[in-house]
């Protein structure tokens, strides 16, 4: 197979210039059925929370000012006026699901990105630079040893009002929660990445790159990071679920978003009180969270496979 004589005319046809890696990745991603379905579902959820409010124009925080009317519309089952029913204050569940999803997904994605970024940064630096290893890993141990919930509570206590007054309640709380979740969840990722980097660093191709004179920065970007992509992907997809759940726990403790501000976690916890009478109200946010997490997991799975050239093309 080495030297098949090729006529010059054919040569141009066969000889494609090096393709961008991302086209190969996309081609492979398309062959992963689960990932495609997950991708579709995720797009659907995004469209639901972003474009939904344009179509479904009831405000998620609208409470009928007429008390009698309000009491009549409490805890309704699915009707044409309220396809997903109403909650204990007569607010429309569909609108609340849309508004809540926007916040939950935004928190999940941003907090996950932050924690993955921090974890990868610490992991790569600790694994690659021997001098930093000790101090960074002790820092990781320190964070792992911290009791997270009290820490989160203290962070929220200290910074919520300051941030809220400067950036507005919504943005301030959002940044605070994203920051708090990101800063307290990067440790696992850092440990996994450090381990992988330590193993990779001894591989001959890294030595080969050093013999070329590749400086550490490009060595990490070109040789180390692409090869630790798989564990990072897994940590990332699991991280989204974690972030959504942590946000809801914070909201439940009254330290996240304000009580009237819908998020999926908030809806879930509000509905828990009425679990016996109206179980359907737990199911909607539950399904939404599960679907998001599941679809992201599948996307991560497909992406991980697509990024690995050894699996690609099978």
């Amino acid at each position: 197979m080495t030297d098949i004589p090729v006529k010059p005319a054919d040569l141009a046809k066969v000889l494609r210039p090096p393709r961008s890696q991302w086209r190969d990745v996309w081609d492979q991603f398309k062959t992963h059925k689960g990932a495609l379905v997950g991708f579709g579902v995720f797009i659907f959820i995004i469209a639901f929370v972003l474009l939904g409010p344009i179509v479904w124009r009831i405000s998620p925080t609208y409470i009928n000012p007429n008390v009698v009317e309000m009491i009549k519309t409490r805890n309704l089952g699915p009707t044409w006026d309220h396809p997903l029913g109403t909650d204990q204050l007569g607010r429309d569940m569909l609108a609340r699901m849309m508004a809540g999803g926007k916040v939950s997904i935004a928190v999940g994605l941003t907090a996950m990105s932050l924690s993955i970024f921090l974890g990868t940064l610490v992991g790569v630096l600790a694994g690659y630079f021997r001098r930093l290893d000790g101090i960074l890993m002790r820092l990781t141990d320190l964070f792992l040893a911290l009791p997270l919930l009290p820490l989160l509570l203290v962070m929220v206590m200290l910074f919520r009002d300051a941030l809220a007054s400067r950036l507005g309640v919504e943005t301030g709380t959002f940044l605070l929660i994203v920051g708090a979740i990101g800063v307290t969840s990067w440790m696992q990722c850092a440990r996994i990445v450090r381990g992988e980097v330590l193993a990779l660093k001894e591989r001959e191709f890294v030595l080969a790159a050093r013999s070329i004179g590749t400086p550490p920065r490009r060595m990490i970007l070109r040789h180390i990071l692409p090869n630790v992509m798989s564990p990072i992907m897994v940590a990332a997809t699991l991280g989204i679920a974690n972030a959504i759940i942590t946000e809801s726990a914070l909201s439940f403790l009254g330290l996240g978003f304000p009580p009237d501000f819908p998020t999926w976690g908030r809806l879930l916890f509000d509905a828990v009180d009425y679990l016996q009478e109206y179980p359907i109200r737990v199911i909607w946010p539950g399904i939404a969270i599960s679907l998001t997490v599941l679809s992201v997991n599948y996307i991560g799975d497909g992406l991980r496979d697509a990024l690995d050239p050894r699996i690609r093309g099978r």
Binding site: M1, P18, E204, L207, A208, S211, P309
Partner: protein
């Protein structure tokens, strides 16, 4: 004294003096530094421009470490390495970077030495990316040129290392080493991981490239017949030290050091009638640990011709005949009286 080689006319490209590469051993609860694995212990040699120096020895004797330390993939413990007249022994990696194009390396395991996530074109293109300012088109042209030079089909440019056979992967490694027009290439057992039919292809390719591009090789191998085929001079290593360095024909015809003798006696003879008369010298015992080498000559524990002095005095590496260096008390009588160890 090492400079007086028969090919004195040729310029010395690589000059190694007292190269030491120790790996520290840390033991105990406090990880205290309790000793060193002396992987390479005070070796000196020269490589002339355009020649191939074979470096042979049994596994674990420090050949690969010597090769890697030579082009400063490790931070060496001591000694001096001059390549093309520039001292690189103690230079910082960032200072070495502009020097890298002159010295390149071909690795032992072609599978492990190629990044599995990069295409062939990007692997060969990496040195160009690092050290040249070629445009995309020029770079691609150079990559194709290199692929032609090592006999890889141009259509393979978009493939990944796992799609190639071992021999092809080694060609990729060679193409990468050639990309910057190096003067000096360390070939670290480039054929050890290949099967015999491919070995010949790769060695012939290396020789052809040497003729064409005027390359200088340090050819590390444990395959003595292959070294005989490719090398101009041969250095024999034992336990971190070079015990003998001679021109190829002389060393194969008349080995001076008892270890070289034993090593060469292990090479099979293709002629069956001669094979029966071949006398194998079987060495007794194991190689001592490089963390705790014996007193005197490193080889004294296994040497069939051991003398009392060997257990006390370390033999010096001296020129006993023109162009032939050996570290053994059997040769170079002058050394026995001096009774001093070389520095280090």
């Amino acid at each position: 004294m090492l400079d007086a080689t028969p090919k004195a006319a040729a310029k010395t490209l690589v000059s190694v003096r007292g190269l030491k590469m120790y790996f520290p051993i840390h033991t105990g609860l406090l990880r205290r530094h309790t000793g060193d694995v002396k992987a390479v212990d005070d070796i000196s040699f020269d490589i002339l421009e355009g020649e191939t120096l074979g470096l042979v020895g049994e596994s674990g004797c420090g050949k690969s470490t010597a090769g890697r330390a030579l082009i400063r993939l490790y931070d060496i413990t001591g000694g001096s390495v001059k390549i093309n007249g520039v001292e690189i022994g103690q230079a910082e990696q960032s200072v070495l970077r502009p020097m890298r194009p002159t010295m390149q390396m071909v690795f032992q395991d072609p599978q492990a030495s190629l990044n599995p996530r990069m295409t062939l074109a990007s692997i060969i293109g990496e040195p160009l990316e690092e050290h040249t300012k070629l445009s995309k088109v020029e770079k691609l042209a150079r990559i194709y040129e290199l692929m032609d030079a090592v006999g890889l089909n141009r259509t393979f440019a978009n493939r990944y290392p796992h799609e190639f056979s071992g021999g092809q992967r080694q060609r990729i490694g060679i193409a990468r080493a050639l990309a910057l027009n190096p003067k000096f290439i360390v070939c670290d057992e480039p054929i050890a991981a290949l099967d015999v039919s491919i070995q010949a292809q790769v060695v012939n390719l290396l020789e052809e490239l040497q003729d064409r591009l005027g390359l200088t090789y340090l050819f590390i191998s444990h395959d003595l017949s292959m070294v005989r085929h490719i090398a101009d001079r041969v250095a024999v290593m034992y336990l971190g030290k070079v015990v003998e360095l001679s021109p190829r024909d002389e060393i194969y015809a008349d080995p001076l050091h008892p270890y070289t003798e034993a090593l060469l006696s292990a090479v099979p003879e293709p002629d069956p009638s001669l094979e029966n008369t071949r006398e194998r010298i079987i060495l007794k015992g194991d190689v001592p640990s490089p963390a705790n080498p014996p007193d005197g000559c490193n080889f004294c524990t296994r040497c069939p011709k051991v003398m009392d002095i060997c257990r006390k005095v370390e033999p010096q590496f001296i020129e006993v005949m023109p162009g032939r260096f050996v570290a053994c008390h059997l040769h170079g009588q002058t050394n026995q009286t001096t009774n001093q160890k070389p520095a280090g």
